[in-house]
Amino acid sequence: MPKIKMTSIKKKYDNKGEEVIHDFNLDIEENEFIVFVGPSGCGKSTTLRMIAGLESITSGELWMDGKLVNDVQAKDRDIAMVFQNYALFPHYNVYDNIAFGLKMKKYKRSFIKERVEQAAEILGLTKYLKRKPKDLSGGQRQRVALGRAIVRDAHIFLMDEPLSNLDAKLRIQMRKEIINLHRRLGTTTIYVTHDQTEAMTMASRIVVLNDGYIEQIGTPEQVYNNPQSKFVAEFMGSPPMNFLEGSVKGNQLMLDSGEVLGELSQSIGDVEKVDIGIRSENIDIAAHDTGINMTVNHVELMGADLHIHGNADGKEIVIRVVPSEKVAVNEQVSLRVNIDMVHLFDANTGKALFDREKVNA
């Protein structure tokens, strides 16, 4: 029995004509760390809020622990939610903020005290228990919000972009803390973010959303190595995947400019128009003329890697090479594409034409 089961869930806001979530289907198992990722406005928060019970479900079924909860109020769903803006109670101090959920359940004072102090210890908040939220830094406020969630012993954690108000350094640190917390408590978690790096680094499974549709569900590896649509390929990974336009004829992969990239190891039949996706690590600078030429626009040294940005075939391209590679801005270089690592997408539907993982297996 899955921890959370969502079948054909749809959402339409009262004040808005069109549906914002279309046919959402997902099973979440106990202890999973699920990340909903997608661009702003794609419906991540809406979905999360439906799970929390803060937003009504227009149609479809939401099951938790084998119970249909569509009509169960938020306060009775036994979830703990962490909000983007922390949503602390400004008139309570840290202790009372963390204790809020326990007080609502009418636990004994001594029990509450023990739980709160334990959580404060885990989160390094012991010194700040008497402070009001306005006297805390952003990171500390987010820890209080986490504390409020973990003391409850809730069955499900829901987090809506909890780190997006923090600066980059703190974000990375809190990311680790949340992962450690999940390891320690094992609570089933749904985490919402628009940041693909967070999704890749934190998730046990990623749900990529676009415009109210699920584009793909899979582990970070699956989503990265085997994107099912051009949208996923573009959205996941940094630097983003490169795209060239071409066609397939008799298993030959050709660019629109007429250059042949190579022969595909699997037959997919002739395709008039394909989008060819190539990750930056699967393109090299060739020693000889391959016919695919790129003008270098600029070069970024990223420590272990060198990112070379340029134009090829009228497209922006980024390639990732070893730092010892010598290239100059405005130089023309020839590119060699690793044909065994390209992803092909139907130019009309954006759907992947084959599973890269299966082919390479």
């Binding site: 938020a74 306060k75 909000f83 803006n85 602390l88 109670f89």
Partner: protein, 280 residues
């Protein structure tokens, strides 16, 4: 440098203006207090006399002997307090429903409430009087209280304050197990306390100073509010020059509760206003 001097001058001008306005505001009060201590001859002395030759503290005693001002003040304070409490409870609940609950005709309800505010109060006297009479509450303090427990002013300002409470905060409370009543009591009200405080204070003063409507309802002396009592005192003593110090003494007595209230609460007043919300 130049700029600094200019702004200093500007600030000085500003403070001067405020000081003058402040003096103008308290002047009648001071004049009242001084007059209460004068002898009848001194009040109308020409040329004008600022200070009494001998402070006539006996004026207060005499005024209290002529009419039960203590009782009037108690009646006023009591009704004003009960009214404020009722207004607070009822308005909080209405404002909560108007801001947090989704129901058909929510805007309509709010607009209807607002429209009643546009009506001149005097226009409602006759129907209200009839209702109070039918309830058998004429000449009772309950009549004064019940006819004042609904306040559009309080509802409106509380609604504004409740709308300022971030949606996230309320949702967090809901997600962590709070129901409507808890959210109202533990979140909305504490987070709107400065508004509630100011509104209650204004309402209290308004009710304490209310004259016309209570004067229509209460008839017997034991139910007089201070405003009604003062007026009756004034008419019964006549405007003879020798009674003016007594009238002034009675006036001084009547403002004492308000003065005490302000002295106790003024610190709160200032703190309350600066103590809202959580800025990121």
């Amino acid at each position: 440098m130049q700029n600094n001097k200019k702004s200093n001058l500007k600030q000085f001008g500003f403070y001067l203006l405020l000081t003058i306005l402040g003096i103008l505001m308290v002047f009648p009060l001071i004049w009242m207090l001084l007059s209460a201590l004068k002898s009848p001859g001194e009040i109308f002395a020409v040329p004008l006399k600022w200070l009494p030759e001998v402070a006539q503290w006996g004026n207060f005693k005499e005024a209290l002997e002529l009419a039960p001002f203590g009782l009037y003040i108690f009646n006023s304070t009591f009704t004003a307090l009960v009214i404020v409490i009722f207004q607070f409870v009822l308005s909080c609940m209405i404002a909560y429903a108007l801001t947090q609950m989704k129901f058909k005709g929510r805007t309509l309800v709010f607009n209807l409430i607002l429209i009643t505010y546009m009506l001149p109060t005097e226009a409602t006297y006759v129907p209200s009087y009839t209702i109070v009479a039918k309830m058998g509450l004429l000449d009772t303090l309950s009549g004064v209280i019940i006819s004042n427990i609904a306040s559009v002013f309080t509802i409106f300002l509380l609604r504004q304050a409740f709308m300022q409470v971030p949606k996230d905060t309320i949702e967090a409370a809901r997600a962590y197990g709070a129901g409507d009543f808890t959210i109202l009591w533990k979140i909305m009200i504490p987070m709107s306390k400065s508004t509630i405080f100011v509104v209650s204070l204004i309402s209290f003063v308004k009710m304490y100073n209310n004259y016309l409507w209570p004067s229509l309802i209460v008839k017997s002396e034991k139910n007089y509010l201070i405003t009604v009592g003062l007026n009756k005192f004034f008419t019964s003593q006549g405007s003879f020059a020798d009674k003016w110090p007594l009238i002034m003494s009675a006036n001084v007595l009547s403002v004492i509760p308000l003065l005490i209230l302000f002295i106790i609460l003024h610190k709160w007043f200032i703190k309350g206003i600066g103590d809202t919300g959580l800025k990121g």
